[in-house]
Structures are given as C-alpha cells and as structure tokens.
C-alpha cells in the first residue's frame, strides 16, 4: 500500500466511534474473492450482524481495505447523516440509514467483482449436487437467489447467490458464499434480525447460508449443469434443453467484465458448456421449479456419464 493510503488506513483503524467515544466495532478481515476488507460501523449490533452474513469468508489478520458506514453527526446537524466510504473515498452520502447500508453491501460486492481478475465471473447463483456444480445465470429478478436458497434448504451445497467465480486454470467454480438476498417467496427462511438494526435493513431480506442449513457451504466444484431461470408470475414450470451455443450466449451475456479479455472468457465459458447439460427453466412457482431441478440433478447424478472429474 502506498503513502498516503497507508496513513489513511491507519487513521481509519478504530473509526467510527459512538457518540460517547466508544469503539463500536469492525468486522474481522473478510476475503470477498479478490477483495480484502473489513467493515466498520457505529453500531456494535450491526457489525455483529454483518460478520454473520459474511462468516464463511472470515480470515485472520488486518485487511487491506476498510469500508466504513458512518454517521456524520447528531440529527439536524450539518451535512447528510449517513455515508459509506471505501478507505477515504466517499461512495454515497444519504439521510437514510437503509440506503447507506444497502450501498455498503453493494460496494463490497462490486469491489469483489472489480478485484477478482484471476477468475471468469458470471452473474449467476450456483449450488452443488454430488460434487458437481449447477450454475443458474440470469438478470436481477430471474429467481437466482430464490432457487439457490430453496436448493440449499433441500440439501444441495451453497456456492453463491450472485457471482459465479470460475477458475479457468482448474475449471472449478470457487465458492463466494456471501449472504443470500431473498424476495418475499422465501421470507420464512430469513431469521428475524435484531430489532435495533431493522432501520438499516429496510425491505431487504438477508440470510446467511448457514442459517438456511448448517454445513451448507460447498467446496469448489466443476460445473456440470447450466440452468437459465426465468421467473414469470403465474406460469407453470417448464424445462427446455438449450443448444450449446444458446447456453454459451446466455453465460456470456451475464459475464462481468467480458471486455477485459473476451476470448479468455468465451473459452472458459465454452468449456463449462462443453462439460454441462444446459436448460432454460421458466416458472412462476418456487416449489415447482425446485422440484423440477431436484429431479434433474437426481437424473444427472444417477447417469453413468455423470462425474465430477469427467
């Protein structure tokens, strides 16, 4: 770390304090793919909550970066009340605690994506069955997180609900087991947060994977199934096979930073498709979609050709 960033890092260690001058807390060092960070907040309960959300990514020692959620002063004082900073760079300033908290998590995720240049990253959730990874690429609202949560509840291993990190060198998907952000359909999976931090959460339903099913975090696994989900309210559940080119096109459209090295990304994703069965899933019903996917993984696991090492 170069000067003045090192001095900035030193100053921020221990900030923010409560109005009474007490240290409210910092999370442990968290390794979010390539982003090495600890998060500071002025609320000890909130800090504990964030630590639980990212628990599988805890590491020892001091982190390189600090994400700070701070209050600029008593209500009615000069300036906006809440701010989020990455090191000393302001990300957002807002009067709403819930917006600031949303930005804190969003910035952590964004930096994880920006900092992870070794991996090919895809906007997708992923779960593990029989040592093999199922990749669910799709835009926001497609049902990625909901399906991942439902599959984890049913016994599949959890890799990620948002960013699939494919290591082109090994062909394995590395876990990025952050908290899941769920819609109303599976709100019963979300434990009641402490009352003192509800103002920070707004209408977000966040759940740590271990709270869905203890021991659910999976190890890195090779992709063997690609399912592109699409949520259509009221629709019955249909599963249609995709051509390899169509599946690759969907994965490529959801790849982060494909322009950094498009050929490397396409090659890596092409290899995923080469080793996978690929489907489009359309559904308006979580239970139906989950049952369909469970049948599919059971079939693949039972097939003589299926193997994590093939």
């Amino acid at each position: 770390m170069d000067e003045p960033r090192a001095e900035v890092r030193r100053l921020l260690d221990g900030y923010p304090n409560t109005a009474e001058g007490e240290r409210a807390g910092a999370t442990p060092r968290l390794c979010l793919l390539g982003f090495d960070v600890e998060m500071h907040t002025p609320d000890a309960e909130l800090t504990r909550y964030i630590t639980q959300l990212y628990a599988p990514m805890r590491r020892a020692d001091q982190a390189e970066h600090v994400l700070t959620l701070s209050r600029s002063g008593p209500a009615g004082a000069a300036g906006p009340e809440w701010a989020v900073h990455l090191d000393a760079i302001r990300v957002v300033a807002t009067p709403a605690a819930s917006i600031a908290f949303q930005y804190l998590l969003w910035e952590a995720n964004r930096q994880a994506i920006e900092s992870s240049t070794d991996f090919v990253l895809v906007h997708a959730s992923a779960a593990v069955f029989d040592g093999m990874a199922m990749v669910l690429p799709g835009p926001m609202g497609a049902g990625k997180s909901t399906l991942a949560a439902a599959l984890v509840r049913e016994g599949l291993g959890y890799l990620t609900d948002e960013v699939v990190a494919l290591d082109p060198a090994t062909g394995l998907i590395r876990p990025y087991p952050k908290y899941l952000s769920l819609g109303g359909a599976l709100a019963d999976l979300v434990p009641q947060p402490p009352a003192s931090i509800r103002a920070f959460l707004g209408d977000q339903h966040l759940v740590a994977p271990e709270a869905i099913r203890p021991g659910s975090i999976a190890a890195a696994a090779p992709p063997r199934l690609v399912v592109a989900p699409r949520y259509e309210p009221g629709a019955g559940t249909t599963l249609d096979r995709l051509t390899p080119a169509a599946a690759l096109s969907i994965l490529a459209q959801h790849a982060f930073h494909i322009e950094r090295d498009a050929q490397r990304t396409l090659d890596a994703l092409g290899s995923v498709v080469d080793h996978s069965q690929c489907f489009q899933l359309v559904s308006g019903d979580v239970a139906g979609a989950t049952a369909t996917l469970l049948e599919l993984v059971a079939e693949i696991a039972a097939s003589p050709r299926a193997s994590a090492s093939s």
Binding site: V8, A88, R90, A262
Partner: protein, 380 residues
C-alpha cells in the same frame, strides 16, 4: 435463407474485425464484440469461418457450392445474405476497402480523457433538459461544456471566461452540459427567484445574487483544472473565513441558511465547491486559480444585487487555522467528511496528501455550527 436480392458485391473480401472473440460449439459460432454477444446459425458460421480476408464473396460461394454439391446461384445468394448480415452486425468488414473506412472506423468513438463528461446514463434528467445556450471552456488540460438558460446568463459567462473559450469538440456537442448556469431576471417587489449553478443533476450553488453563482462557476471550473501543476489540491469542504483567517468545514445540509447564520457572526463563505489547499503553506486559495478570468462582469452583477445577500469571501489566499467537522471530531472523521468522492474526476491521492498535511498543521475541531466557527476563527 431469403430469396431477396443481395446487396453485397461479389468481389468484396469479407474479413472478421480484429476485436471479436469467438467460440464455436456444435457448428454454431458465439461471437462477442463490444459488449454484444451474437449466435450464428450453421450457415452463417460456415461463412464466418471462410471470411479470412483473402477470399472474395464469389470465391467463398464457389468453394462451398463445390463442397456441398449445391447450386452456385443459390449458395452465392446465401453467402451474400450471411455476409450482409454479419457486416450489418459489425462483425465483418471488407478487407479490400479503405482500411480507415473499415476495420478501425468505429474504434475511437470513446470520449477523450480531456473532455469533462459524465458516464452514460448517470443523469437521465440532464439528457432530457434543453438549454438555450452552450459553449465550451478550457480549464487546465480539460474542456467542459457550460450551458446557460438565457442570453443574459450566456453573455455574462462568455465575458467572464472569454480567455478560456474554445470551439466545442464534436464529442461534447452530443453530451449533456457538464455545468449549467440559470440566472433569472431581478424584479422589484416579491420574492427573488434563486439563481442556480447545476453540475450534472445536482444544484451545486444557489443564491439571490447572480454574481455569487458565476463566482461559483469559476471556482468549480478551476477545481477541474491542473491543480497539481499549481501546487494545490481540492479538499471536499467549504471555506469560511474572516479577514485573513479561514477554516475548512464540512458542507452543510442547507447552504443558504448556513451562509445567512454565518453572516450574522461576520463570517463569510467562499463561493467554491472545494477548498483549494496549498499543502506546502497550509493556505487555501479562494477564486479561480489557473483560469484567466475577467472579474468586471461579476462585479457589475454584484453592484446590482449586493443587498440581497452577504458578500462572499474575497478571492485570494487565506491561512487555514482549523478544520471543523460535526462532533465527535477526529482526523478520521475529518478525512471522511472532507475526502474525495468516487467519480469526482479529481486527483484522490493529491487530496488525501493535502488533508493529511492539514491535520499535521491545524487542529481538527467540532466547530461545525456558525457560533462555534466564529469563536474558532477568533481564537485562530
């Protein structure tokens, strides 16, 4: 395949653009170029693979007709349609055509670094709003577009910054203005409408005195100049002062009310978006360093409207005696309150160095309200 006539010249020599990435799976090519992903059907994939920059459309068609024992006319039509479509998608060019008009024709469409523009989609309302006048002005090594809502505002801005005026680069002409000045006619009686300075979708200065809004534009323009060459760094705070003593304080939620309250204590506020700090001396520079500005039109405006609001802090250098942030004050709190913001086009490391130098030189206090600021300036 369609039976419609083909517009492609049979003598043209199709060639893949150099900036494409391709993977072929089961006879269908998936091609990425500039954020777009295309899937080609098997016929188009075959044509794509033959488009090597050596063979003409006629030659490709003849080879494929031989290979598949098909009618040459029908294959030529299919190949022509595929080349036409792939060219329209921007995936193929005619290698025989002028290289400047082909391969690289759209490779330099990205905005230039020296033009101050906001990222696409960052301000939909800026795109929609129409401004009556727009001109471009140089600040340091950069050029910014400044809009005005009427002839009077445009004339004032043009007169003040005449020495900085440049021809508008074509890339700026299609972008929303970086700044916009909105001056209103001063009518006798009734409430005077506020004059405004817009920066993107944010109103960054508002006053009943147009001279203060134009001064704010000068300060804003200067803050995007080559501050490093002037030995200055931009700190994201407000400069307030009395005489030759100044403080850098956190931006208030309500600048107008804050200014009025400070004026009651005899404290003036600089019309600057940032504090331009000279880390070597601990001074702040108020004004438009680096810009050749004609102050006379601003002074003329001030004469017409000086009774409507207090005077600003005069242009020149002032010594910083303290930093003021809301309690509990600490260098870390000041760092976050006054530090750079993401996407602000500034030299972030320069700003951080200047802040750290200030922390060494002056106290960080919790003098953030007008009374405390006034007392701190008295002490300093």
């Amino acid at each position: 395949m369609t039976g419609a006539p083909v517009a492609v010249d049979g003598a043209s020599v199709p060639q893949a653009r150099p900036d494409v990435a391709v993977v072929t799976l089961d006879g269908e090519a998936v091609i990425h170029r500039r954020g777009q992903v295309h899937v080609l059907d098997p016929v188009a994939t075959l044509v794509w693979r033959c488009a090597d920059g050596e063979a003409s459309v006629n030659e490709i068609a003849a080879d494929l007709a031989d290979a598949f024992a098909a009618s040459p006319e029908s294959v030529l039509r299919d190949v022509g349609h595929a080349v036409e479509r792939l060219t329209a998608l921007g995936l193929l060019v005619d290698a025989g055509a002028d290289a400047d008009a082909g391969v690289d024709s759209d490779s330099d469409s990205a905005p230039r670094d020296d033009l101050l523009v906001d990222p696409p989609g960052s301000c939909p309302s800026c795109v929609e709003r129409h401004w009556a006048f727009r001109r471009s002005y140089r600040t340091g090594t950069r050029v910014a577009s400044v809009a005005a809502n009427n002839e009077r505002a445009d004339a004032v801005v043009r007169a003040v910054f005449a020495a900085q005026l440049v021809d508008t680069p074509p890339e700026l002409a299609t972008e929303p203005p970086f700044f916009a000045v909105e001056l209103h006619e001063h009518e006798s009686g009734g409430l005077q409408r506020l004059d405004l300075l817009h920066r993107g979708d944010t109103i960054v200065a508002r006053s009943r005195r147009p001279d203060r809004v134009v001064r704010a534009l000068a300060g804003h323009l200067a803050s995007y100049g080559d501050l490093g060459a002037l030995g200055l760094a931009a700190v994201n705070g407000l400069v307030v002062g009395r005489g030759e003593r100044a403080m850098v304080v956190a931006h208030p939620a309500d600048p107008l009310r804050f200014r009025r309250a400070l004026a009651r204590h005899g404290v003036l506020v600089a019309d600057m978006p940032v504090a331009l700090v000279d880390p070597s001396t601990g001074d702040v520079v108020v004004g438009a360093p680096g810009l050749d500005v004609d102050l006379s039109p601003i002074e003329a405006l001030a004469l017409q409207s000086s009774g409507l609001e207090a005077d600003p802090l005069p242009w020149g250098r002032a010594r910083v005696v303290a930093i003021g942030v809301p309690a509990p004050a600490s260098p870390a709190a000041a760092l976050l309150a006054l530090g750079p913001a993401e996407g602000d086009h500034g030299d972030h490391d320069g700003t951080l160095r200047a802040l750290l130098a200030l922390f060494d030189a002056v106290p960080v206090t919790d003098a953030a309200d007008p009374e405390a600021i006034s007392a701190e300036l008295e002490r300093g």
